[in-house]
């Protein structure tokens, strides 16, 4: 399963990177969201998968290996929650931005201070 997941993670990264490179701000935000998912899954997989085994101690406080590595899990748990906080704030900003400018095209939002007028955006 690890190898299959490795390919899947690569795919998630590829999708999110593609979204990050779009001109539409909404797509960029979705890309960030997907990127976070990919990172979480990457940390989870790289730590090694342990099917049906968590990291729970028995009644007497002992635990025989193999067990799931608890540290990456703790990291991911934090990452999921923080990711949500960041997303909420980003969405609020995006909402506001749309109210102010009426567009979500990043090229339209760009400041033209250093623009070369002869050269169109690539």
């Amino acid at each position: 399963m690890e190898n299959l997941l490795a390919i899947t993670i690569g795919a998630i990264y590829a999708f999110s990177f593609y979204l990050l490179l779009r001109r539409s701000l909404v797509k960029v935000i979705l890309g960030v969201l997907l990127f976070g998912q990919g990172v979480n899954l990457l940390i989870f997989t790289a730590a090694g998968l342990t099917p049906d085994r968590g990291a729970f101690l028995k009644e007497d406080g002992s635990l025989q290996p193999p067990y799931a590595d608890p540290l990456p899990q703790a990291l991911i748990l934090t990452a999921i929650v923080i990711g949500f906080g960041v997303l909420a704030f980003t969405l609020a900003m995006m909402h506001r931005l749309h109210r102010e400018t009426g567009t979500d095209d990043l090229d339209e939002l760009r400041s033209d201070e250093f623009d070369d007028p002869d050269k169109p955006a690539p």
Partner: protein, 781 residues
């Protein structure tokens, strides 16, 4: 040493307050600070008789071997006495010169900052500390040159001085780091022990070039000489203190300090000698045609610094003795003459030598001080300047034929300096009184006291040389040359070649003085040559190259397209990862379909299909739903592979995210297709490459053996925290502070969301109120 530094920096801090309460009288109290330091180090002189330096250490950044270490040897003490002694007179002088100036307090604050930096610089044993003090002197010089910040020229001159000296400072830092990497130490004494090792290292050449850049920029050696005359925009006390007696000699100090370490090679000797001679000639030739008192003096300072550099390059004990003696003489007479120039400017409101004459009737005491200092500058017996000039010629003549060549160049340069001394120090006081913008009177006591003391000291030391030869000059020469030598100064050597040269110098100087009008005319005709000088290169760099490079790199790096920022960040990261991964190889049979369960394939397929559809669809809600599918699938994966906590959290957060996304995106119009086909294809290829790199990363990471130290620790210690769910124990016990941080982030984010949205509500309610009056539905456009 540390105590005296502390007192000076304390004086810097409280001087604005003192000036605020006491006005000009504050200068008398403030002058006590350098005076007490001067007296303290006079006492130290006696302790130096055995020749070994006194060391003092205060630990600073222990882990990097950076300490505040002070080394009091003869060289340091000579400079300390000059800085503190002349500093005392300057503090008094400035109080009167800038009396009533609204920023006198600020002036003293910077002046004391400089004084502390300079004291620390010359006494530093640790190279890093030396560098810090070195840069601090440049910085305070910048503030003092730009003191009259409303004048554009002052600001430009300050910036020029700062940039030139900071360039050298950076070179010096690199040199010190090279030294430290060669010897594993920042301490000068320890580095000195490995002298041979350093001189045989291939990086010795680079080291010397870097040190020379540092010293030459600071001491205004050609081709960096141009900043010094510009720095005359500073108030005169600053010119007298920083730009003649102390700061500019810091470069010479550095060369003298490093001569025992880097000296003794052809590279060192020839570069110092040739640049020194070049600077000496440049300074004296450029000086003679000037008409402004301060600029005349500034160019001769350049010439004097060149002479010192050249003498250090010659490298013999005699040359070192001549250099040290000349340094002392120059500080005394140049400080005095600058203060005289300031006093004349103060009393007549002009600094143009063509407008000055007969001032001895109105300013007799200033005239005496000026005359004595000018005699020292000319090198007329019995002033100490005469002895030092004889020494310089003697040191040159030691070298035979080439020595005579040096001596003849020296005679020309010195004769020009003699002419300048007559123009600046004697001529304005003799002849017919000329009409000046202000009718002159004798300057107030602090304005003539300083120059008179310095000029009299020059005379006293000349008549009674034993006062300085064994006490000050000898220890300093020993510190430069490295072993004990005989130092004997006397006015009369008998009829020697040196005496002839001195006489010729004076004669030639007087001729040059008579020809001064011709030199001025020549300067005016030759002015267009400036266009080919180093200063125009400087202004070209500052005004043309720098702005164009800056705008070019701004256009390249700060183009304003988010996706290219993302692209460059991720490409750089991916390349770094790929480079690191190439060392790990995969086993040949890493992938077989049979090793997977059917539901595993199903889960991954779901992610694939949903992701693929999400990037193709143009409907926003559709893509949100598709992303939701991915999120829930990941949550399932967590659940299946031993992470129920993660599954639960992911499930809840995914649900919340979906709701939020739908709420916000529901109102937005349908996405248009914005990018061209070509850029889509390019992005797709880039994304594929990136995804491939990440896949490799995961695969290869699976073949690195796991370190189980951390998980074992958490599992074994969870019972102490009274918990059986190890993940939870980590979150609330072992890494509880991280969790606190996480909660804080959420709190801040919530406040942020509230602020952003509530602002909209207010704005839209006021907007809808105004819409009633004007055209409706402007938002929908």
């Amino acid at each position: 040493m540390a105590a005296s530094l502390f007192i000076v920096f304390l004086a810097s801090a409280i001087s604005p307050l003192l000036v605020y309460f006491l006005r000009t009288r504050a200068s008398y109290f403030l002058a006590l600070v350098p005076l007490s330091i001067f007296v303290l180090y006079l006492h130290y002189l006696q302790r130096l008789h055995d020749g070994s330096p006194l060391l003092e250490t205060i630990h600073w950044i222990q882990s990097f071997g950076v300490h505040l270490q002070f080394r009091l040897d003869g060289l340091a003490l000579l400079f300390l006495l000059l800085i503190a002694g002349i500093g005392t007179l300057i503090v008094l002088y400035a109080g009167s010169y800038l009396a009533g100036h609204p920023h006198l307090g600020r002036f003293y604050a910077i002046l004391f900052l400089f004084m502390g930096a300079m004291l620390g610089l010359v006494a530093s044993e640790n190279l890093i500390a030396l560098f810090v003090f070195w840069e601090l002197t440049s910085l305070s010089s910048y503030l003092l040159v730009g003191f009259d910040y409303r004048k554009k020229e002052a600001r430009a001159a300050a910036l020029q001085a700062l940039l030139v000296t900071f360039t050298g400072g950076q070179a010096l830092l690199v040199a010190f780091l090279i030294l430290a990497s060669l010897t594993d130490s920042f301490s000068f004494t320890q580095i000195l022990e490995k002298k041979i090792q350093i001189q045989q290292n291939p990086s010795y050449i680079i080291l010397v070039l870097l040190v020379l850049t540092g010293a030459f920029t600071k001491s205004a050696q050609t081709p960096f000489h141009f900043w010094l005359p510009g720095a005359m925009a500073a108030p005169t006390p600053v010119s007298a203190y920083l730009h003649s007696a102390t700061m500019v000699t810091a470069g010479v100090f550095l060369l003298a300090r490093l001569t025992p370490l880097l000296g003794g090679t052809h590279l060192w000797a020839w570069s110092l000698t040739s640049f020194g001679l070049l600077t000496m000639l440049t300074g004296s030739i450029l000086a003679i045609g000037q008409t402004d008192l301060k600029r005349l003096l500034a160019y001769t300072t350049v010439a004097a610094l060149g002479t010192m550099t050249m003498l250090l390059g010659l490298g013999t004990p005699l040359a070192a003795k001549a250099a040290i003696a000349f340094l002392l003489v120059h500080s005394l007479y140049k400080g005095a003459l600058f203060m005289v120039a300031g006093a004349v400017d103060h009393e007549t409101h002009t600094r143009d030598v063509r407008d000055l004459g007969g001032l001895i009737r109105h300013m007799p005491i200033t005239a005496i001080a000026s005359g004595l200092a000018a005699l020292a500058m000319c090198g007329v017996p019995p002033v100490l300047g005469f002895i030092s000039k004889e020494l310089i010629y003697e040191a040159k003549l030691e070298f035979g034929q080439i020595g005579w060549f040096f001596a003849i160049l020296g005679v020309i340069a010195n004769a020009l300096v003699v002419a300048v001394a007559l123009i600046v120090g004697i001529r304005p006081f003799l002849g017919f009184p000329l009409h000046t913008p202000k009718h002159p009177h004798e300057a107030p006591f602090p304005l003539w006291f300083g120059p008179l003391i310095l000029a009299l000291l020059g005379l006293l030391f000349g008549i009674v040389p034993p006062l300085v030869e064994q006490t000050i000059i000898k220890p300093a020469v020993v510190a430069v040359v490295g072993d004990t030598i005989k130092v004997k100064l006397s006015l009369w050597h008998g009829f020697t070649p040196m005496l002839v040269l001195s006489f010729v110098t004076l004669l030639l100087g007087f001729c040059f003085f008579r020809m001064r009008e011709k030199f001025r005319l020549a300067r005016e005709t030759l002015t267009p040559l400036r266009y080919y000088g180093p200063e125009s290169l400087y202004s070209c760099i500052i005004n043309h190259w720098l702005p164009s490079i800056a705008s070019l790199q701004t256009r390249i790096l700060q183009h304003g397209y988010l996706r290219y920022y993302v692209l460059s960040i991720i490409a750089a990261a991916a390349l770094a990862v790929a480079a690191g991964l190439s060392r790990i190889s995969l086993p040949g049979t890493w992938f077989t379909w049979r090793s997977f369960e059917w539901w595993e394939v199903l889960l991954c397929a779901a992610i694939f299909l949903a992701g693929f559809a999400a990037i193709l669809t143009s409907g926003r809600i559709t893509s949100v739903v598709l992303l939701g599918i991915i999120g829930y699938t990941i949550s399932l994966i967590f659940a299946l592979y031993g992470a129920p906590d993660l599954a639960l959290t992911q499930f809840l957060v995914e649900t919340l995210t979906l709701i939020l996304l739908v709420l916000v995106l529901y109102r937005l119009p349908k996405a248009k297709s914005l990018s061209s086909k070509a850029s889509r294809l390019r992005d797709a290829l880039l994304s594929l490459a990136f995804g491939f790199a990440i896949t490799l990363l995961v695969l290869k990471s699976l073949y690195i053996p796991h370190d189980t130290k951390l998980p074992d620790f958490f599992v074994q210690n969870s019972p102490i925290a009274q918990g059986r769910n190890v993940v939870n124990v980590i979150l609330v016990d072992f890494r509880a502070l991280d969790t606190l941080g996480e909660i804080t982030v959420l709190g801040i984010s919530a406040v942020g969301v509230w602020a952003v949205l509530s602002f909209i509500r207010k704005k839209s309610s006021s907007a809808s109120a105004s819409q009633k009056n004007s055209s409706p539905a402007s938002f929908e456009q």
